[in-house]
Amino acid sequence: MANIALSADGHGHSAAEVAHKNSNQKLAMWLYLASEIVIFSIMIVGYAIWRLNEPDAVSNIHKTLSIIPVTINTFLLLSSSWAMVMGLRAIEMGNRQMFMRWIGATALLGAIFVAGQWLEYRELSHMNLTLQRSDMTLEDEIFESSLEISQVDGGYEVNVLNQQILDGLDLSYDTERFVEPTVLTEQEYAEFEQAVTTEVVGATANFGMRFYAPTAFHGFHVVVGVLLALQVLYLGSKGFYDDNPIGVELFGLYWHFVDVVWILLFTLIYLV
């Protein structure tokens, strides 16, 4: 009774079937990345709100921390994206050897990025910046490049190197005098320390969790990416992608996504 117009022509992997599966996988990858964006956006927005509310603390942190190592790190990660593109191009052109080299470079650059982040974390933890809120004081290392304080006769000599830190300070005397090194009496210094602690030190102590959560979450994605790159290398060496390089393309989508997120984080946390 069944009246069927269509009939399945064999159960082999026809070209149309492969193309259909590929487009399925690409759509799924895009949807997955869309949901990843949402998770990152919570941490990014959480940081951005804090950034807007505490410009003085951010100014102090930027003044203290060097941007050079992380810029190099960023450059390496961007280069890895380029290596990724070249690797995909190589396998699409059927050049397995070049593919192995480029994807190998991708994995290596990703691994170096993770190592660089590890070094950065170590340096920050020495400055008393941890995931937990730490009790900071003006004497902490993180304030060294913003303030110079030395005890002299009759009080403290204060040299404010980062003038932005004075914004919004509630003092009974004029902040104009900090334009050049000035000597404060015991009483004036106590007031100064109190004011800076309320305005800047507490906020600087809150930087840790808001910094580590998004960057470590991103770092975790890079680690996963490196592991995936190694798997792509292994499968590629077996000739898995010779006919259908979709797996490489999917990994590429993920890797570029991780890069784009880093550009956002780098701009938001280190630059502005």
Partner: protein, 571 residues
Amino acid sequence: MATISVPIGERQTQSMPHWTEYFRWTVDHKIIGVQYGVTAFVFFLVGGALAMLIRWELLTPALDTMASGTAYNQLFTIHGTIMIFLFVIPMWGAFGNYLIPLQLGAGDMAFPWLNAFAFWLIPPAGILVIMGYFVGQAEAGWTAYPPLSTLFSGDGQTLWAMGAHLLGFSSILGSINFLVTILNMRPEGMSIWKMPLFCWAQMATSTIAVMATPFLAGALTLMLLDRVGGTSFFDATQGGDVLLWQNVFWFYSHPAVYIMILPGMGVLSEVLSVHSRKPIFGYRMIGLSSMAIAIVGFFVWAHHMFTSLQPELRIPFMVTTMIIAVPTGIKIFSWIGTLWGGKIRFTSAMLFSLGFLSMFVIGGISGVMLAAIPFNYQVHDTYFVVSHFHFVLFGGAVFAIYSGLYHWFPKVTGRMLNETLGRIHFVLTYLGFFFTFFPMHMAGMLGMPRRVAVYAPELQTWNVIISIFSFILGISTFVFVGNAIWSVARGRRAGANPWRALTLEWATTSPPPAWNFDEPPIPFEDPYGYGTDAATAYLDAIDRTFGVPEPPRPNITGGNSPEALPSPAGD
């Protein structure tokens, strides 16, 4: 006469897969669908038992059944968590898994392996949530507001967060699979405007799940960091922000209520059309209103926070909340239009759909009442709110789940559910439900706060009424359980298409073979085109082969004979 292009099915039914298949890792979407469904239903029974305990405690105004207020807090926390995360959402996963490939005439989901993986995340998550009882169960309510959930709750709260995390992950993976299947696996000739409305509903649901669930994941990550990592994202005394949780949580959880109701609306669109033998009224509007709800649903979250929000934001959220009632109203009127002048068959599936229609309207109206800020102030966190969300979740989602179970049980098992027991089940559920939750409106307006075990003695009358009917509601569940168990073994053989429906899941045997369709089926031009030439020819051919359907006669019990005619409209 138009050509019949859809196979009319066979009299003989297939046998179900061996029972051990259901306890194993398998990539067959039909087995995974049943795994989802049975797991979710077991959690429904657990969550229901907890609800019975809550009602038992509330029989008297004093603390008696529970050892302490903390124990009571744990009780309703786990009741809510199980019902939402472990029952309703996975239950719609069950329907989606079983039906989407069949309705699209496909052999399986786009990613069978991912499908199995998403399911097997659920049992460990359920165990994590329940295991909290051994280490100090979560007690901050299913909404887990800090600082209750960060500074005060026991280690069970950490397990709770991990469990919810796993469930969210499972939900995201499942939804990606649904979306790809619906968008990319439709057969030739079925455009997006010709696919069954259940698929439309699942498409809207999955869109929400993919875009909203990550918000929960992000918030839970921060909560776990606060609890385990020593951060203070949600601790205002340490530079954190309590409202951050409320905003992010509701940014997930408000869209999540549409995750819980939209598939039910899809079920309703199928059942009402099939059982009133009429084309669905306003196909496009039903499909589009699902998408409209999905989109507007992202802009109403702060109506949960009228008492903690900046005052100037209240009016905008009141307006968006009222706007979202419009697409819902479009659906309701379309369904009434479908019923109008139809040849209505009062099968159990139809009864539960009509129950949804009546009860969900009440829940919708109390929702609009709650959206009005001055009224909200009066009943905020009272039993009025409890009543509202049970009307939409039980009167909506659960009624639709029952309706779907009665409608598709023959497809899944090859046997009909007993209609007599089905009617008893419906009457008990309908009355038990209404008299449990409707008096809660009154109790709420009289000032009964939610989430407390000790209340003012003058409210006891209302609470006793509520509790007694809730016990009837609890008992009614076992009528269904008994019916299902009996019918799997001895129910009447269903045949391929017992309801004489036109969608493709009925164009194969019941239960379908592992490969679903012997030949790729060609869908009807209109999946609800009852009365068109093609549909009439098809349905006539079925009638000629298997005999004319008898009107429903609930008194006839089933038999085990494979020779029995497929029963078109009930037992």
